[in-house]
Structure formats: structure tokens, C-alpha cells
């Protein structure tokens, strides 16, 4: 448990807790009131929007919305990239060629135009649709990485040894190859979640997101529409922006820690490690 990992887990953990519990404790985020755009105070922790809506309540529901998108995209990416990457590489032959071809095609198709095209067909998008679209446009990169790694593990001596023993193929995949992929899978999933959250924020900001629901991105969208920046209403756009930045940073810290587990050589490279070394340099005679 390094400092990096502790910090990352704490921040991410707190945000997740907030997203899970806060919506149960706050009022209705959509209630329109007469008071208009007001700053924090007067019973509203984060002030109100131009329609008098409680921003703190919105933040609570938005956190939940964004986390749902992150989770769904993470899970879908895991499933799709594992299937096309790992299974393809393991089975080999034509299956591998076909899966690889599909992966490469999906990589080449530009994500944003695809999303725009899909959006234009479906005017009222739900969170689930946005999550699905994000997942479909992002699994390919992961699949390539997993395929490469699986190919390398497949050729290792201990896998050959088990083949020689006469082990069944599905057992080789599950018992011998998969455990070696777990750190990489974990890292890829975390990447997918970061991408999902940032992607959703970007989409929503452009007006292409789940405009009917609350997510960090839609909050920013409405803040932009309500001229929050021009009017100096920092309490409207800063919280969701900060939330995105903090969550993204926390996940990245977790990912760096996973990297250090995978590759112990990275552990010695941090500045903290090097300072520790210089300070204990031996005394010259």
C-alpha cells in the first residue's frame, strides 16, 4: 500500500460513497424555484441554478449518474475487449484473424462522428444509451493490448508444459493464462472508466449526452447554457468540473499503482525513492 494507492483509493472511495448515499439525503434536484441564480448560503450548500434548482442536490444525482456510466462502460469494455482480445489470441487461426480484423476496424472508425450519427437518430438519450455508445467506441484499444499480451503468455514455457501434460484448452485459458492477465485487465478497466467519465462529460458539454438525466457533463452543459462563467456563478460549474478532475486523478493514481505491481522496476524510479537513497549514502573514508 503506497501513498499513491492510498490517496487514489481514498478520493475515489469518497466520491463513490457520495454518489451512492447523497441522493438519498438531499432534496429534489429538479425543483424549480423563484429565487434564480444565487450563490452558496441561505440553506443551499452550493447555491442554485438560474432556475432556482439546488446545485448540491444536482451534484449528488450527477455523481451517481456519471458513476453509473463509468461502471457500465467499464464492465462492457471488459467483456468486449476480453472476448475479442483474449479468446481470439488464444484460439488462434482464422478466429484470431477475424477478431483482429474487427478490432482494427473498430479502432479506425472515428468515435465522435459515430456518436453524433447515433445521437441524431435518437433525440432523447438515456444514460444507458450513452454508456453503450461509449463502450462500443472504446473497447478496441483495450482488445489490442490484451491480444498482444495473451499471445506472449501463450508462448511461455509453463503454458507449453501444461499443453504437453494434456490439459484441456479451456482450462489452460482459465487457469494458466487468465491469472497472468489480471493486473493488465484491472489497468485497462480503470482506463475505460476514466475515458467514459471524460468522454461523457465532453459529449454532454456538446449537447450530445443524456440531456434528460443528471451527470457531471450535463451539469456543465446547463451551466454553459445558463452563462454561468460569464455571470461569475462559479458554484455552478466548479463543483462538477472539480469532481471530474478529482475522480480522474484518483483513478489515474490507482492505475499507476497497478503499473508498479506489474512492473516492480518502476518502484525505484519515483523521486521519493531516489531522495531516500541519496540521504543514506555511505560516508567516505
Amino acid at each position: 500500500m503506497t501513498v499513491k494507492l492510498a490517496v487514489g483509493l481514498t478520493i475515489a472511495g469518497l466520491i463513490v460513497l457520495f454518489g451512492l448515499l447523497a441522493p438519498l439525503l438531499v432534496g429534489n434536484p429538479s425543483t424549480v424555484r423563484d429565487i434564480g441564480l444565487t450563490g452558496p448560503g441561505n440553506g443551499f450548500v452550493l447555491g442554485t441554478t438560474q432556475n432556482g434548482q439546488d446545485i448540491f442536490a444536482q451534484l449528488a444525482y450527477a455523481t451517481r449518474g456519471s458513476l453509473i456510466i463509468g461502471a457500465v462502460v467499464g464492465a462492457l469494455t471488459l467483456l468486449l475487449s476480453s472476448f475479442f482480445g483474449i479468446v481470439g489470441a488464444f484460439v488462434g487461426g482464422w478466429t484470431d484473424e477475424a477478431f483482429s480484423l474487427l478490432t482494427n476496424i473498430m479502432l479506425v472508425i472515428p468515435g465522435l462522428p459515430l456518436v453524433i450519427v447515433i445521437s441524431s437518430y435518437v433525440p432523447n438519450k438515456s444514460i444507458w444509451l450513452v454508456a453503450a455508445v461509449l463502450a462500443i467506441t472504446s473497447w478496441a484499444g483495450s482488445a489490442r493490448v490484451l491480444r498482444g499480451f495473451t499471445l506472449s503468455v501463450r508462448g511461455r514455457d509453463y503454458v507449453l508444459a501444461v499443453r504437453i501434460s494434456g490439459e484441456k484448452r479451456w482450462r489452460i485459458l482459465l487457469v494458466e493464462i487468465l491469472p497472468n492477465l489480471i493486473p493488465l485487465l484491472a489497468s485497462q478497466v480503470v482506463f475505460a472508466v476514466i475515458f467514459a467519465i471524460l468522454g461523457e462529460a465532453g459529449l454532454s458539454f456538446l449537447g450530445l449526452g443524456a440531456s434528460g438525466s443528471f451527470t457531471w457533463g450535463t451539469m456543465l452543459f446547463y451551466a454553459q447554457n445558463g452563462l454561468a462563467l460569464r455571470l461569475g456563478a462559479w458554484w455552478w460549474f466548479a463543483p462538477p468540473g472539480l469532481a471530474i478532475a478529482l475522480f480522474g486523478a484518483a483513478l489515474s493514481l490507482i492505475n499507476f499503482s497497478i503499473d508498479e505491481i506489474i512492473n516492480p522496476k518502476l518502484r525505484a524510479q519515483t523521486r521519493a525513492e531516489r531522495t531516500k537513497w541519496t540521504m543514506s549514502r555511505g560516508v567516505k573514508p
Binding site: 514455457d157 504437453i164 494434456g166 490439459e167 497472468n180
Partner: protein
């Protein structure tokens, strides 16, 4: 199984270099026999084709032409004969660090082959067999070793586990692909001696693949010298070393470090016997 035979086996790889297709003959009409109770050494430098021969024997590759015969019948790759072959022919890999899966315990590595070849065994019987295997390769206390993971073992210990794993299905033939070349020098002879003991006890036929002429000579009954995929010399171990016929064998023997030669130069009265006057 009584005899494993390679008859005029050829293995060619097709290499693509841009638009050009070249054929690489890794194994060129190699023939030999492996019988239980005899150790045959396959000596060659890197690129000579010895690893390819190991892969062919382990069914990891198929010959381009020629035949591999099991008791006179062609080797089968599917079905019951293939399963029987996999039980009878096992391999010890060269690299003790990559031949064990870092995620699993030693016990797991040994239990799997036991279970595959004895599906009728109960859990307890499997465990007993695993501990027995560890004892035979002198890894004791065996309960302790069974619980450890590969990174907790030294190179020599890992190689013993690899040998134990190869013995788990009670094979008749063992292919040892450079089993000690990645181990520390002072434990090599210990592991080779272990292999020799086990060979004698189980009446195994061993194919000892190596680049080291000295251990090949001391460890085997016959030596085959491989050069660019072809066998250039084949005969009883002492004959091949002390009275080589082919010039490549002579070259190998001369190139190997021979301190006795220099001793004779430095000290005119010294004999060519070993260091401790044997």
C-alpha cells in the same frame, strides 16, 4: 512403449522477407531411436535444430516429411493414441524461471498432471502422490515445498520441480532440453545426477539435449552431433569424444576449454590427468 523412433525427419520453415519466400531447413533427415534405459545425447550449438527436434517429439510441431514412429506405428496427434503418447513422453524445459506459472503453488503444478492421468484418484491420493514426487526429487520437507510459489524457490529447486512434473504421468521417455544450462555452475552436476538416478530407477529413455560436450559424454550412452539440422556423427559416447570421425566434432572438441592443455604448457612435467591427480 518400448521404442520411439525418428525416421528421416525433415522440418522446414517458410520465412517471408518482403515478397521473397525462403525455406529454412531446421531439421534435415534426422533419424535415431529412443529406448527405455538408454540415454542419448543430442549435442549442437544454437541454431543447430536441437530445440526443433524437441518440439517435434513433444507434438508442438509437425514434421514436413519423414515419420515419427511409436513402437513401429506412426505418431498420432488426436484421440486416444495421442493421449497415451502424452502420458509416455514428457519434457523438462531449459528455463527454470519461465517453466513454472508464477500464480500457482508447486503443489498445483504437480497435482494437475497427476489428476489428468489418473482421473480416478481421490483428492487424498493425488496429494500423496504430489508429496511423493517432491520427495523423489529431494525437495524436502515436501509439505512445505508444495505450498510455496515458484518465486520462493531457487533456480535449482525450480528445475527439480520441473523434473518432478515431468515424472508425474509415469512416462517412459524423457526429453531434457538443456536442463542445466541456465542453472548456477555448482548445482548443475547435482541436478544431472538426480536425472541419472531417476533414469535408472524408472528405466527411462532420456534424450539429453545440450551444447556441452563434457556433460554429454559423462551422462549418456550415445552421442549425436547436430550441425545445421543434420546429424554429422552418431556413436557411443566415449568413441565420439575420444575418437571423432567428423571434422565438426573435432572442431567442437578442440574448442571446448581444456585446462589440461595449458597445464602441460605451463608446467612441462605435469601430466594430462585432472586437477586432483585422478
Amino acid at each position: 512403449m518400448t521404442v520411439l523412433e525418428m525416421r528421416d525427419v525433415v522440418k522446414e520453415y517458410r520465412l517471408r522477407d518482403g515478397l521473397q519466400l525462403t525455406r529454412l531447413r531446421a531439421v534435415d533427415k534426422v533419424s535415431f531411436e529412443l529406448k527405455p534405459g538408454r540415454t542419448v545425447a543430442l549435442v549442437g550449438q544454437s541454431g543447430s535444430g536441437k530445440s526443433t527436434i524437441a518440439k517435434l517429439l513433444m507434438q508442438l510441431e509437425r514434421p514436413t516429411s519423414g515419420a515419427i514412429l511409436v513402437d513401429g506405428q506412426p505418431m498420432r496427434y488426436r484421440g486416444a493414441p495421442a493421449a497415451a503418447y502424452r502420458k509416455a513422453v514428457q519434457m523438462v524445459f531449459q528455463d527454470p524461471f519461465s517453466s513454472l506459472n508464477p500464480y500457482h503453488t508447486i503443489g498445483h503444478h504437480l497435482a494437475r498432471p497427476v489428476r489428468i492421468h489418473h482421473p480416478d484418484f481421490t483428492g487424498e491420493q493425488v496429494d500423496r502422490r504430489v508429496l511423493d514426487l517432491l520427495r523423489r526429487v529431494r525437495l524436502e520437507p515436501s509439505e512445505d515445498f508444495a505450498r510455496r510459489k515458484p518465486h520462493e524457490l531457487s533456480g535449482g529447486q525450480r528445475q527439480r520441480v520441473a523434473i518432478a512434473r515431468a515424472l508425474a504421468p509415469e512416462p517412459a521417455i524423457l526429453v531434457a532440453d538443456e536442463p542445466v544450462s541456465m542453472l548456477d555452475v555448482s548445482i548443475r552436476l547435482g541436478v544431472l545426477n538426480l536425472l541419472a538416478t531417476l533414469q535408472r530407477e524408472e528405466n527411462l529413455g532420456v534424450l539429453y539435449i545440450t551444447h556441452d560436450l563434457a556433460t554429454a559424454r559423462h551422462f549418456s550412452d550415445e552421442i549425436m552431433v547436430l550441425y545445421r539440422g543434420a546429424v554429422v556423427e552418431h556413436g557411443p559416447a566415449d568413441d565420439v569424444i575420444l575418437n571423432p570421425q567428423h571434422e565438426y566434432t573435432q572442431l567442437l572438441a578442440d574448442a571446448a576449454p581444456a585446462p589440461e592443455r595449458r597445464l602441460a604448457e605451463l608446467r612441462p612435467g605435469a601430466t594430462a590427468a585432472g586437477p586432483r591427480g585422478r
